[in-house]
Symmetry: C2
Amino acid sequence: MKFKIKDMDIATGGTLIVLINKSDAAKYDLHAMDRVKLTKGRYSETALIDIGESEKAVPPGIIGLFEEVMHSLKAKSKETVHMRLARKPLSVQFIKKKLDGKTLNKNEIDQIVWDIVHNKLNDVELTYFVSACYTNVVTLKETVLLTKAMAECGDMLKINDYPVMDKHCIGGVAGNRTTMILVPIIAAAGLKIPKTSSRSITSPAGTADTMEVLTNVSIPIKKMKSLIEEINGCMVWGGALNLAPSDDKIIKVERPLAIDAESQLLASIMAKKHSVSSTHILIDIPIGKGAKIESREEALNLKERFEQIGQALKKHIKVIITDGSQPIGNGIGPALEARDVLWILKGDQNQPQDLKQKSVLMAGYMLELAGKSKPGFGYKSALGILESGAAYKKMKEIIKKQGGKNNIKPEDIKLGRYTYKHKASKAGRVAQIDNRIISRIARVAGAPKDKEAGIYLFKHKKHKVKKGEILFTLYAESKEKLRNAIAGLKTQDPYIIK
Amino acid sequence: MKFKIKDMDIATGGTLIVLINKSDAAKYDLHAMDRVKLTKGRYSETALIDIGESEKAVPPGIIGLFEEVMHSLKAKSKETVHMRLARKPLSVQFIKKKLDGKTLNKNEIDQIVWDIVHNKLNDVELTYFVSACYTNVVTLKETVLLTKAMAECGDMLKINDYPVMDKHCIGGVAGNRTTMILVPIIAAAGLKIPKTSSRSITSPAGTADTMEVLTNVSIPIKKMKSLIEEINGCMVWGGALNLAPSDDKIIKVERPLAIDAESQLLASIMAKKHSVSSTHILIDIPIGKGAKIESREEALNLKERFEQIGQALKKHIKVIITDGSQPIGNGIGPALEARDVLWILKGDQNQPQDLKQKSVLMAGYMLELAGKSKPGFGYKSALGILESGAAYKKMKEIIKKQGGKNNIKPEDIKLGRYTYKHKASKAGRVAQIDNRIISRIARVAGAPKDKEAGIYLFKHKKHKVKKGEILFTLYAESKEKLRNAIAGLKTQDPYIIK
């Protein structure tokens, strides 16, 4: 089959696509998503067929090449290209095998992950893979193989030290910014902790968003390595690194149905840890209404799976189940959370005690896990490091080395100029603060895109309130967003007072 | 969000798509496949987001509209359009429900099918639905609801008569063109049979391809109705009609993994029957090596499912399991099969006895099913109608009324001018003829696109052959295709002689 090239002048940013007219599709018995091998002189490329209905896009005899394909073939408009049907990538049959409920071996899993990372699969094929892992049993061995394949398909940060510390939180609890307190404590204790974090997906702030209020978080992997060697710790945005890169592609097809395949979730978390050489990992599973995990049973099940996969990967894992029934800390949104963090590190009177306690507890468990503290003495050691000012000093060092300013004062952090004070409609005791509603309101107010937007809580669960007392303040960068957030409060109040 | 329109000058032929720059996507927190509502003056439309990586396709602030969206919004380049995030179609949550292994009710299934037919779902969402039906249990009730929803979402051919006959073959057997013999027999017996057929997907000929050698098969539904009223029968291409139109969209996402979800298959077959008002249906399940169904157990299971769904739909169904272990008839490929059919209808000495026997047997079962013949006497009646010439007369009537020529002679049917005689490499008895290999060779020779291409068999199973005796002749319309088919024979011989 010979075609004349038309430059479509569109980049897809991923999948390689060519467009042919529907009459050519019928003539050559080609279907949408069929793979074809294109050859022009000594260049060749495999791409997916898309079919144009009208002659406007491409008339018969013409093939429309999207930018990636133009580039790969060094093609120019009106040149001739030869096309033939190409084989499907090997992994397609392995995906079918998993969909049929069978167990995959190492070669099969490696091939699937390689094909995902190298854009060899189309969205439909990738969806079948996600779906197969969601509806069928994925064995522990498969999850381990998936984890390793995902890590090894991207960059790896090699750290020649032992132990290498890490932590992960399952999430869903507003304000829960423990990472930014425990990383300085652990690093100040002399342990390596190459912490990567994500930006928020559905919450008002991710650790990367919050850290970015204080310093640069887009750090190349080489620089990350030197930071770990020099100052033991860092807090960087994982998205700027090429660690376990299959994840983003998988998430893309999970989004439309809000699928969360447990095996994929485990593999994706552990792959990120594996790719930065972590050996000792603390996992926090908060439970409670509005958190990601709502029941204790679900949390215990997930804990067991983490412990199993940790053991299989020869990593030391400690899983803790914590109270996630209300926001932790007072600030919600990047700037407000960064301010809480600095207050805690400085020992300021404004520090939220709940976030401090939880962070010190977690840091303590990590010291024990690493053998730095004897069992039962971790909390005390961690508290000592925090209260001595060593953790604060370490934080300033991390901020500066990552490219931030010297000595940022919590009071200097800019907050949204439009504010609204939400007051109690009756007297009583706070019975509930719904994480999901709090997060949504903070997002409507602009967080995390508007770093200065968010919520500052004055009352937590079990606090007594008088009628008309301020429960929280809303911050926004624009009047309109503030108005939208206030309107949101009218429909659903995050506080229940009894 | 406001954007300036750019006309992308591309029609997708289905899904409504708009393209924005990746920096706008980040700014507004939009992701690929998110749905947005676009408004321009009094026109509005919902479309899916696609994200362009480079500024070449669309720079920030510009939205690229594909032709369907341009048209729907009556848009011109450089006009301004307002965009906001739209809700997902209702069916997305029902698809998730099915993926979680739950049972769907009528409203949920109707909504899914409606959204499929109206292009409201993207390929990923549709794939999750197919995958959910493939990996999870689909109850009989769900299959019935799916069948009705699929039929009712398209055109329906109402026939005010009883019974209305139909047949379906599961396929996979080369040359098995029974429809073109039994439809004239049934119609000549005075029964209505509004037969729709498909074109070949993976075989060397579908009934629609073969019938098209003799007459026009793209018949509008109104004309089909008048043919049934006037002459009782017709044989038309289902693809030209809007019957159960969700099917093609489902097949599109099944192709990449060659998925065949049984419940979908059943629903899709029965929906096509339901949409033409069929009340009495004969289902043929051929079994044997290389056929679609290879084991008796599988066939019996499928038979039971057909009987159950038939009963639930209040249709009279008879399922027969037949020998599909070798090609049936001598001709394989549209022209060669059409010639066999005419020879049988005329009672010519060249008629293939196996195809004649099977067709008469099936017609006989249908006469019994309709109550036209007493049990046990159908075969004799059908044979009588065939041998009296009444079926041939009916066939000529159907051919003419559908727009074909008068009195086509089987000898006048044009065959491929390039031929090759494949000879036995040793003496013995034919132990096996592989349907899959025969079909593939015929396709490589050009069938079904080249109507004159194909294979004509001289030997069937159990036939004695001498060394050097001709087993079959290959026909092709071009030297190159003939050469390719001959090359194919070198790798795999369809005949095993013992």
